[in-house]
Amino acid sequence: MILTRADPSYPAHLAQCPDAPEALHVRGAFVRGDEIAVAVVGTRSMTSYGERVACDLARDLALSGVTVVSGLAHGIDETAHRAALDAGGRTIAVLGCGLAAFHGSIARRRLLERIATGGAVVSEYDDDFAGAAWTFPVRNRIIAGLTLATVVVEAGAPSGALITAARALDYDRAVFAVPGSIYGAKSIGCHRLITEGRARLCRRAADVLAEVGAMLPARERPRLPLSPLERAVFEAVFAEARHIDEIARDAARPVEEVSATLTLLELRDLVRGVGDGRFVARVS
C-alpha cells in the first residue's frame, strides 16, 4: 500500500515535518491510536543492560497503549519491536530500504512479518530498492517524525540513534536518553544528550508517559474470566516482571500454586515468562 502526503490516512505528525516523504510504502496498516507513538532507538551492539532497558521500556509503553516505533536494526531496535509485540501492543518499523528488499538476519525477517501483521512496516523507498549507507540515517527522520517523543536507550559517540534524536529536536518533539555506565562506551551518546540539555533523563516508561500520557485514553484492565488466585497472580505481574517467589510471598500463597497458575495463564496467552522464573502480563 502506498500513502501519499495528500492521503487523509497519512500519519498526521509526520505530515507536519517539512522534509516528510511524499509517499510512504506500507505493509500492515496505521490504525487510530498510532499517532500516540514513542520511538525507542539505540545501538546495534547493545549490552545486556541495554537489552533489558529496551525490553522493559517498550513493553511498558506498549502496555500503556503507546505505539512503539523503531528501525528494525540489530540490537535495541529489534528488542523494542519484539517487546512491544510480546506485550500485545502496537509497533511500527521504519526501514532504510525497500519493503521487499529487507535482508536482515532470519530472526529479524521473521520479526518483520510479525510487525506487518501486528503493526506496520513502512519505507519511503520503492519495494525492491536495496538501500545504501546514506538511506539509513535519512530514514531516521521518519522515525522522529512519526512520534511524540524519542527515547535513546544506548548510543555510542557517533550513532544513528543520535541522528534520530537530532531530527526529533528539529521537529520540536521531546527527546529522552537513558543513562548507563559512565565507564562504558555504549552510553557516551546518551550522556552527552543529557549534559548538553537536549534530552531529558529517562529511567522508566513513566518518565516518558508524563510527557505523552495525558493524550492517552484511560485504559481498562481486561475483564477476564479468572479465578481469584489467577486474578491475584495476573494483577501481581500486570505492571512489571516479577519472580515467582516474590509473587508467592506477597500473595501469601504456596509457591507451587503460583507456579502452576502462571503456567495456566501463560498457556492462555495472558502472561509471559521473561526468564529464570520471572513473569510479566501480556495485554491484548
Partner: protein, 507 residues
C-alpha cells in the same frame, strides 16, 4: 579333585574357583592348573589380560616365599570359560592354590571361592570389586570364600556364605587342609544410615521455588537445574539436598556399594556405603571420569552417584563432550561402555542437581548488580547446555537474590519435615513397583497416570503451544505424577500438571 603328584614324571591336575568381573557382571571362573613333565615354564591361557599373565611372577615368588616348592615343570593354567576376556589381579590366589594342589603340596577337597591378589612375600592383597564377586558366587550356591583381611568386611556384607579372611598364602593353605581353620568373619552390620545434608533446609531463607523443585526432585528422582547469579545460594541448596532424600534401603545400599567396590573405593573402615552417595566432581573432569570409561572400563562419577545425587556446579563450564555423554545415563539409568573386546554396563540411577549462572559474568537478570554481557554472549553461554541434555532435566528454577527483608522473615521448614513428604511419595512409587517415578516405564506410566479431562485438555494445549517435545511429554507426566503423590492424590489434577509444565520452562 585333589592332585596326586608322584615323584618325577607323573602329571598333576587341579582346579580351583575364582570369579571374573565385567563391569558389575560377575561370573564364576574355573581355574585349571596342569603340572606336567617338560621344561620349567608357566603359561596362562583363557583370554587373560596383562595383569593376569603377570600373575605367573607373583605366584612363583609367593609360593616360594611361603615355604612351598614351586614345581620345576611345565605348568599350564586355563581360566574357563576360556572365551571371555578377563582382567585384573583377583586370580592370583586361585592360581597359587591350584599350583600347590596340582603339585601335591595341598591335599584337600575343599573348594571355596578364592579372591585375592598375592604379594611376592606370600601375603594377600585386596582386589577391586570384591563385593559383586562374592555376591555372585553366593547367588550360585558357593558357601565359602577366602579373601584378604582388607576385603573381609566388604565380603561379609554378603551373609549367605562363610567369609574367611587370611593374611598370607600359608594361612589359606592351613585353613584348606584343616590344620588351622580360619574362623568365619562375622556378618558386617549395616550400621546407621548416616544420610543427611551438611546443611539443613531450615537454615536457608527464601528460595521458595528452588526448595519446592528440590522436594519434587527428591520425591520422584527427577533431575533439577538451578539458575541464578553467584551468591544467591545455589550451592547451599544443593548441599542441603541429600538431607531430604528418602532413607537408604538395604537394596539400594547394596547396589550403590557394588559400584564403589568395583571402583576400589570401599575399604576395611567402610565396607558398605553408610549414606547415599553425593558426588560433586569439579568441572575440569573428562568425559571418561564423568560417565566411566578407559580400558579396562571403570565406573564414572555418574555411576558412583547411583542411588544418590550428582551435583554439577557451573554446568556450562563442563567439557561439552562430558555433558553430551550424560544423555544416555540420564535417560536410561545406566551406561554401557564398549571397548575393544570388553563391554561393561554400570548402573547410573542418580538425581542430577545442576547449577549455573544465568550468563558468563553471572549477573544477568540480577536486580542489584549490572550484567556486562552482550545479549549474544548470554545466548551463547546458555547454548552450552544442549537441547537434548536440557530435555532430560525436568525441573528448572531461577534462584533469585534474596532480599534482606526475606532473609529476616519467617523461619524456614527443616529438612526432616520435607523428607517426610518425600518418603510418602516414594511409598506411592514403590506400590507401582519402582523406587521413584522417574523410573516408571511407559506402560506403567500410562496405567498409573489417569488424567482428568481438564488435565488432558491442558496437556494437549501445551503440546499445541509447542511447549513439549515428545520426550518431554512423558517426562512431564512423570513429574506431575510425583507432584500428585506429594499430595497423596491418586488422580493427576490440572494444577499438578500445570506446575510440572511450569518447572519444565525453557531457560
Amino acid at each position: 579333585m585333589a592332585a596326586l603328584a608322584a615323584e618325577g614324571t607323573a602329571r598333576g591336575l587341579a582346579t580351583t574357583r575364582a570369579c571374573a568381573l565385567w563391569g558389575l557382571d560377575a561370573q564364576l571362573v574355573r581355574v585349571e592348573v596342569d603340572v606336567a613333565p617338560g621344561l620349567p615354564s608357566m603359561h596362562v591361557v583363557g583370554l587373560a589380560d596383562a595383569a593376569i599373565r603377570e600373575a605367573r611372577e607373583r605366584v612363583r615368588s609367593a609360593v616360594r616365599n611361603s615355604g612351598f616348592e614351586f614345581p620345576l615343570r611345565r605348568i599350564t593354567v586355563n581360566l574357563a570359560p576360556a572365551d571371555r576376556r578377563k582382567e585384573g589381579t583377583g586370580f592370583d590366589l586361585a592360581i597359587a592354590v591350584g599350583v600347590l594342589r596340582a603339585s601335591g603340596q595341598l591335599q584337600s577337597t575343599a573348594d571355596p571361592l578364592l579372591v585375592a591378589e598375592l604379594a611376592l612375600d606370600g601375603s594377600l592383597r585386596p582386589v577391586r570389586g570384591c563385593l559383586p564377586r562374592v555376591a555372585a558366587a553366593a547367588a550360585r550356591g558357593v558357601d565359602e570364600v577366602v579373601v584378604s583381611r582388607e576385603n573381609a568386611s566388604e565380603a561379609a556384607a554378603v551373609d549367605t556364605l562363610a567369609v574367611r579372611a587370611a593374611r598370607t598364602l600359608r594361612e589359606v593353605v592351613a585353613h584348606l587342609d584343616s590344620t588351622a581353620p580360619i574362623v568365619g568373619e562375622p556378618a558386617a552390620p549395616l550400621g546407621e544410615d548416616t544420610s543427611g545434608g551438611e546443611v539443613d533446609f531450615a537454615d536457608i531463607a527464601g528460595q521458595a521455588s528452588a526448595r519446592r523443585a528440590l522436594e519434587i526432585a527428591a520425591a520422584g528422582g527427577h533431575n533439577v537445574l538451578l539458575v541464578g547469579p553467584p551468591g544467591t545460594g545455589k550451592t547451599l541448596l544443593a548441599r542441603a539436598f541429600p538431607g531430604i532424600l528418602p532413607a537408604f534401603t538395604p537394596r539400594e545400599r547394596f547396589e550403590a556399594s557394588v559400584v564403589h567396590s568395583v571402583a576400589g573405593l570401599l575399604g576395611p573402615d567402610r565396607p558398605l556405603l553408610a549414606a547415599r552417595p553425593y558426588r560433586a566432581p569439579h568441572h575440569t573432569l573428562s568425559a571418561y571420569a564423568l560417565v566411566g570409561g578407559a580400558s579396562p572400563p571403570r565406573p564414572g562419577e555418574v555411576s558412583l552417584a547411583h542411588r544418590g545425587a550428582l551435583f554439577l556446579d557451573e554446568l556450562p563450564e563442563y567439557p561439552a563432550a562430558a555433558l553430551e555423554a550424560l544423555r544416555e545415563p540420564l535417560e536410561d539409568g545406566r551406561i554401557t561402555i564398549s571397548r575393544a573386546g570388553a563391554a561393561a554396563t554400570y548402573p547410573a540411577r542418580t538425581i542430577l542437581v545442576a547449577a549455573m549462572n544465568p550468563c558468563a559474568c553471572g549477573f544477568f537478570g540480577d536486580a542489584e548488580r549490572e550484567c556486562r554481557c552482550l545479549p549474544e554472549q548470554v545466548a551463547r553461554y546458555r547454548a552450552r547446555i544442549s537441547g537434548p541434555l536440557l530435555d532430560r532435566i525436568d525441573l528448572r528454577v531461577g534462584v533469585p537474590r534474596v532480599q534482606a527483608a526475606a532473609l529476616r522473615s519467617v523461619s524456614a521448614e527443616p529438612s526432616h519435615a520435607i523428607r517426610e513428604r518425600v518418603e510418602g511419595a516414594r511409598r506411592a512409587a514403590r506400590a507401582r513397583g519402582v523406587l521413584a517415578n522417574a523410573e516408571l516405564p511407559l506402560s506403567a506410566l500410562r496405567r498409573w497416570s489417569r488424567l482428568s479431562d481438564q488435565t488432558h485438555a491442558l496437556l494437549e494445549l501445551a503440546v499445541a503451544k509447542d511447549r513439549l517435545s515428545s520426550r518431554g511429554y512423558h517426562r512431564v507426566i512423570r513429574v506431575a505424577r510425583t507432584i500428585a503423590d506429594l499430595e497423596s492424590s491418586a488422580e493427576i489434577a490440572e494444577l499438578h500438571l500445570a506446575e510440572a509444565l511450569s518447572l519444565r520452562r525453557e531457560l
